[in-house]
């Protein structure tokens, strides 16, 4: 009875926190999306679902959705591949292994704004280190912010730099839980290192990778800071993602209802994707 009480109290506390910090703002955003208002102090005018109808035919919305998918998918793919590779190395016994593991986590501790400013300075066309290095090789500097490809690549690069250590840490922890006997049995059966990785390591990491990809997917799709700090969605909105579009509309373009509608649609889309993902890769799989 006492144990049940503790469980219920923890659950209620958790639900209360979620309701206050997520539920109420979410409902408020949904409510705002049904009104036309220029600012948070303007007189709201009821427009029903008009904001949704307007947003769903807006080219900028679908472009932002596509940009978000490209940035999220490419970042996650690189983070996972690099994360597994680095974790495999760090899982070996070598001198300085502990130090290497410690150093690996450092980018994860770096504030996003610091990482973005560092990249901007490195790539600066007038004073940047990359410009100097290229110039010494007789190669002219490229303008990273001038095309969709280079601007997107820069965003992905920074995201990979900052977040790969998170994947490394999770995968490394997952590797510790794979029984050594499985590797030994595979060796006895004549499996080489590639086969051991493919048939033992990867299946053993599946639960960890399922969670990592899910979390990274949610975080990358909702990524605001890196995009805002590096490109603000440019050039010509080619790196604008849904969170940036929602912010722009609600806080800059005097379209609070439109911004709230973008945020709500984005939330619904992400929820649907998560449900499908969890159906395909259930977390409680034995």
């Amino acid at each position: 009875m006492k144990k049940n009480f503790a469980i219920v109290s923890f659950l209620l506390t958790g639900l209360l926190v979620v309701a206050v910090v997520i539920g109420i703002p979410l409902l408020h955003a949904m409510q705002l999306s049904l009104y036309k208002l220029e600012s948070f102090i303007s007189e709201p005018i009821w427009v029903g679902l008009d904001n949704y109808a307007r947003i769903l035919v807006d080219r900028d919305f679908w472009s932002a959705f596509g940009n978000g998918l490209v940035i999220a998918c490419s970042s996650i793919a690189l983070q996972v591949v690099l994360g597994i590779g680095i974790a495999l190395i760090l899982n070996q016994n070598f001198i300085g292994q502990s130090i290497a593991r410690g150093v690996m986590i450092l980018p994860y501790l770096l504030p996003t704004v610091v990482a973005c400013l560092t990249i901007e300075w490195l790539l600066d066309g007038s004073y940047g280190l990359v410009k100097s290095l290229l110039a010494s090789a007789g190669i002219p500097m490229f303008d990273w912010s001038a095309s969709r490809l280079s601007a997107t690549a820069t965003i992905v690069l920074v995201s990979v730099w900052i977040w790969t250590p998170f994947v490394v840490t999770c995968v490394l922890a997952g590797m510790q839980s794979i029984p050594r006997q499985l590797y030994e049995a595979a060796k006895v059966d004549g499996a080489g290192s590639w086969h051991r990785f493919w048939h033992v390591t990867l299946p053993g990491l599946k639960p960890v990778l399922t969670v990592v990809v899910l979390l990274r997917g949610i975080w990358m799709f909702n990524k605001f800071d890196v995009v805002w700090l590096l490109t603000k969605g440019g050039p010509v909105n080619s790196t604008e993602t849904l969170p940036v579009l929602a912010y722009r509309k609600a806080f800059q373009s005097f379209d609070v209802g439109g911004g709230a509608a973008v945020a709500t649609i984005s939330f619904v889309m992400l929820s649907v994707v998560i449900l499908i993902y969890l159906k395909l890769f259930p977390l409680d799989e034995k």
């Binding site: 600012s39 066309g125 110039a135 500097m141 603000k232």
Partner: protein
Amino acid sequence: MSDLNEMNASPAAAQSGDRAPSGKRRALMQASAAAAALGALGFPSVHAKSNVTLRFLNNETSVDSNRALRVAAAEYERKFGTKVIIDSTPIDDTFPKIQASIKAGQPYDIATIGFIAHMIILANQGALIPVTEMTKKHQWGPQILFPIKGQVWWYPYDYNLAANYYRKDLYAEKSLKIPETWEQYLSNARALTVSKDGNVDRGGCIFPIASNGASNWTSFAFLWAEGVRVMDKNWNVIVDSAENSERIGRYLDMYAEMYKTMPPNMNSASYAQLLGLFATDKVAHSAYSGRLVETIEARAPTLADKFGVFPYMDSKGNAKAVNNGYDGFVVLKSKQSEDAMKFLRWFIDNHYINWLHTAPIHFQPPRLDVYEDKRWWAHPLIEKHAQTVKAMQSWITDKKMVINSIDSDGPTPDVRPAKVFESYVFPEMLQNKVLKGMSNAECVKAAGEKIRQVITA
């Protein structure tokens, strides 16, 4: 005692020289006490705690501006007992903070505002107290008071007019003249461009194309000089009218050529690059307000006597323009609005010049009487750069000078131009031209469509 009595005597008695007869000492003392009491009633707040605390949201975050406000607040509290708390915040956070304070039922009492649309929204929502009575006392420059419904809702303290700063020494080296036409400007920019290792090492000019305020502020006054307007007097979007399309097309062609003379990364350039590249000899022309002069003085003093300034020009050399920029104080509607108005009146009467001196060239006075005030001219930087300052003054007194900006375009102050500003339609037009290689007609068409879309949202 008699000295004390003399001190407490009414001003009228003191002036008339009347002396009380010595036999009526008690009556005199009583009269003195009564006079003192009446005096205290007449000036109840002097040297007394008023129990009023005003909150002032300041977005001028420089050390000098902050200090000036704090000094004024301390003096005000000493004199009148009203505490004024100065809360400083970056300019981008001002409006969200003001909105949050209003929604929370504790509005700031006074604030500085740097974007006209925010003042308009606050005024339209009845969140401001008009300051018409205060602004009526002086003559003002053009395009600065932005009255709504016959009332003025802010007390402007500066213009930040964007104009072209150039390197006089480089002009002399190449025997160049101040340009009067776009062709001449382009020719000068080309002549001053230095390339090294395949890169532009010193740009001929810099006009950003990034979707940010810096581009909106500095890259389009050529259009105002050329006669382009975004809205007509009935709020119709005319940016893509036949006449304007042709004008904008001419500018886009000129811009595409200027772009080749600019340093790299124009699509991520902002205020910092406009200042920094000029101050570090990485560009020969830069567009900015007087802040550039202050930056040069602080960071690159060797350039302090090597720059000049000229306004934007049209393609044929018939018109001149500067891009408008401004800041002002607003008094918000609160339980303490009367006290806030009192403070602002006192601040304007006693500290306006001090405040302007905290960014002596950047805070270009919008009040015309300030240009006659010796105290204002006495600041060392204003004295030193008197020629530049007089040029800046001429922009607001010259009736032919075009003063416009994206956010203040249109027949009356309104949020619609601000929506155009914040949707970055104009920078995108330049991006479409130089990054995507779209034709002039496509660029203008896309801009017109987007403007119509954002102003109806």
